[in-house]
């Protein structure tokens, strides 16, 4: 059932994203900058848009989330924990080194998000530029498996697969040519159940890429994708764009989310690189807690 996008819900999503940033900032994790830049998007997906069930991570009818920039795994682990996929306490081994917990879990959190390891993760990544192609395969497979009779994918109408595939890609990995192979494929087969979200924080590990990423919107349009641009840290913007994408048929969709590397963690935001050393100040000073309002 669709959730009502009102002020109360926006406040709740913002509070969840804040808590996720607190979890990741204390983790001393290697890719803090890119984790923080996509955090709001991930929270909007898990707590507003996506159809999923923490009690049944392998539910076949769930929406999928493919993370191309899998090094930002913490941006998924934290919301998955808060959603109830696993205890928040279990996130500790990711940052604290390998440990076997009392109930037998041994670091289920890989440094790069991996499906086999962690409930709720839909793609095993690490090497960049591959998530979008995998997501294309998922989206195509979802249509093939749709319960309605098959209709030639070149034509309309087409079967409704009943679930969608979301794919978060990083702008750094967009330099990998494979993305553009996948972009052509998705447009050829009009994979409208595929929604890409570009975490456009402009920085890879060594430079500001905007000079050669631009014109980014025109690139995706030229490849046959429906596109829109949003502020990737404005929760209402993110949710609205995700809703808007639902109403577009006949093409894959790319939401260009303008983001800030390290967003919400002052030390990280100041340098805008990939690093993510834990702030020296107490976390409650750096990122004050915001109580998470209960869901209606």
């Amino acid at each position: 059932m669709a959730k009502k996008l009102d002020d109360k819900l926006i406040k709740r999503l913002e509070a969840i994203a804040n808590e996720c940033r607190r979890i990741n900032a204390t983790g001393n994790y290697g890719h803090g900058g890119g984790t923080a830049s996509m955090q709001d998007i991930a929270v909007a997906l898990y707590f507003y848009k996506m159809k999923h069930d923490p009690k049944n991570p392998d539910w076949p009818e769930r929406d999928r989330l493919v993370l191309g920039k899998s090094h930002a795994a913490g941006a998924l682990y934290a919301p998955l924990a808060l959603a109830g996929y696993f205890d928040k306490e279990k996130l500790v081994p990711l940052y604290g080194g390998n440990k076997i917990l009392a109930d037998g879990w041994m670091t289920p959190f890989q440094m790069h998000a991996e499906k086999w390891a962690t409930p709720g993760i839909d793609y095993t990544g690490g090497s960049l530029g591959q998530g979008l192609g995998f997501a294309c395969g998922l989206a195509y497979g979802a249509i093939l498996k749709a319960p309605k009779p098959l209709i030639n994918l070149y034509g309309n109408p087409r079967p409704d697969p009943g679930y969608k595939v979301y794919c978060i890609i990083g702008d750094g990995e967009l330099s990998e040519g494979w993305n553009w192979e996948s972009a052509m494929f998705a447009a050829k087969y009009k994979l409208s159940n595929l929604v890409g979200i570009l975490d456009y924080n402009r920085y890879n590990m060594s430079e500001d890429m905007s000079s050669y990423m631009e014109p980014i919107v025109e690139k995706w349009k030229a490849f046959g994708w429906w596109t829109t641009e949003i502020d990737g840290h404005n929760m209402r913007d993110i949710c609205s764009a995700l809703d808007l994408a639902d109403n577009v048929s006949g093409a894959p969709k790319m939401i260009i989310a303008h983001t800030i590397k390290g967003k919400g963690v002052p030390d990280w935001e100041a340098v805008r690189n990939h690093s993510g050393n834990a702030p020296k100040e107490p976390i409650d000073t750096v990122i004050p807690p915001i109580p998470i309002p209960p869901e209606d």
Binding site: G126, F134, F185
Partner: protein, 319 residues
């Protein structure tokens, strides 16, 4: 011992034997899909596309990496994927294979053509000399290399049922040596000819060449055993150790580069378990000129006579 044909005839194509089990199964099993990076049209005809596969023929265009990526995604959805391409082109998709297909053990059968490096011979860019070296170290991946159409067909049937990733290195044509009742066993190196003085471990066209060499050697008083190392990974460890123990000398033969091929894998098994004199026939770190046939075979020292000479030299090294 497996039975081999008494009369070896003209070369037969391997592709129909590989495709038939999947095409037959696709008639009742909707989960079978073909991924074509402009590479399956020769075997899946326009008619088959229109009448049978329809949307289950997925044409990515010439993009091997994305073909690997979508194969992973399709298999994640429970579909059984067959993706053929030229063997050397999997190098282009290699990192996509190792991350997006094999880590999650997806049901994808990759068919790499152009094995049997001396056949075809479209020049250095098209030499399929490195595929074993790159595919053998990939965890979760089974690597197979059939010696003829019968064996290729049995391997394809196996791949259809095996719920995981397989790389099958095939070749265009080869005379059929196995009878139709041949049974493929994963992880076995079947004996195609028995002998007690030395063992020839052949792969692909070198199984037949091994038989021919053994016949020639028998006339000279050397009884050579011949194994078919078609299950390259997992490798037929037991048969190889047994051969080392019983015959005391081993010669491997394959049409790939000597670095990282089947011979290296055999040498590892022999060296660790029962060291005996060993020699490897392969290509020696070189690109092959365009062309094919006997002349090129001779130029690169890949003839039956070269194998015979290598066997004799190795037998002399026995203590």
């Amino acid at each position: 011992m497996v039975t081999i044909k008494k009369e070896i005839g003209q070369p037969d194509p391997l592709a129909p034997a590989i495709w038939t089990p999947w095409i037959e199964a696709a008639k009742t099993d909707n989960s079978i899909v073909v991924v074509s990076a402009d590479s399956a049209g020769r075997n899946i005809t326009q008619e088959l596309r229109e009448t049978l596969f329809k949307d289950r023929f997925i044409a990515s265009g010439i993009q091997e990496a994305n073909a690997a990526l979508i194969s992973g995604g399709l298999a994640d959805q429970g579909l059984k994927v067959i993706w053929p391409d030229m063997g050397w082109l999997f190098e282009r998709a290699y990192n996509a294979v190792t991350q997006t297909i094999t880590t999650e053990h997806y049901h994808v059968m990759m068919v790499g053509s152009g094995g049997g490096a001396l056949a075809g011979g479209a020049g250095p860019s098209h030499n399929n000399l490195r595929d074993l070296a790159v595919m053998l170290p990939v965890p979760n991946l089974i690597v197979l290399a059939p010696a003829d159409a019968v064996e290729a067909g049995k391997m394809s049937e196996f791949a259809l049922k095996y719920n995981g990733p397989i790389y099958l290195r095939t070749m265009a044509m080869s005379p059929t040596i196995f009878e139709n009742d041949y049974q493929f066993n994963l992880g076995d190196a079947p004996t195609v000819r028995d002998g007690a003085d030395v063992t020839i471990i052949g792969m692909q066209e070198w199984v037949l060449k091994g038989i021919l060499a053994a016949n020639s050697l028998a006339a000279q008083g050397i009884q050579a055993r011949v194994l078919d190392c078609s299950s390259v990974k997992p490798i037929g460890k037991e048969a190889i150790i047994k051969a080392a123990r019983e015959t005391g000398a081993i010669v491997t033969a394959e049409s790939t580069n000597i670095h990282g091929g089947m011979g290296s894998a055999v040498a590892g098994v022999v060296g660790e378990n029962y060291p005996v004199p060993l020699k490897r026939i392969a290509l020696h770190d070189q690109y092959l000129h365009s062309g094919g046939g006997k002349l090129v075979e001779a130029y690169y020292h890949q003839t039956v006579d070269d194998l015979v000479a290598a066997v004799k030299e190795t037998v002399q090294r026995k203590k």
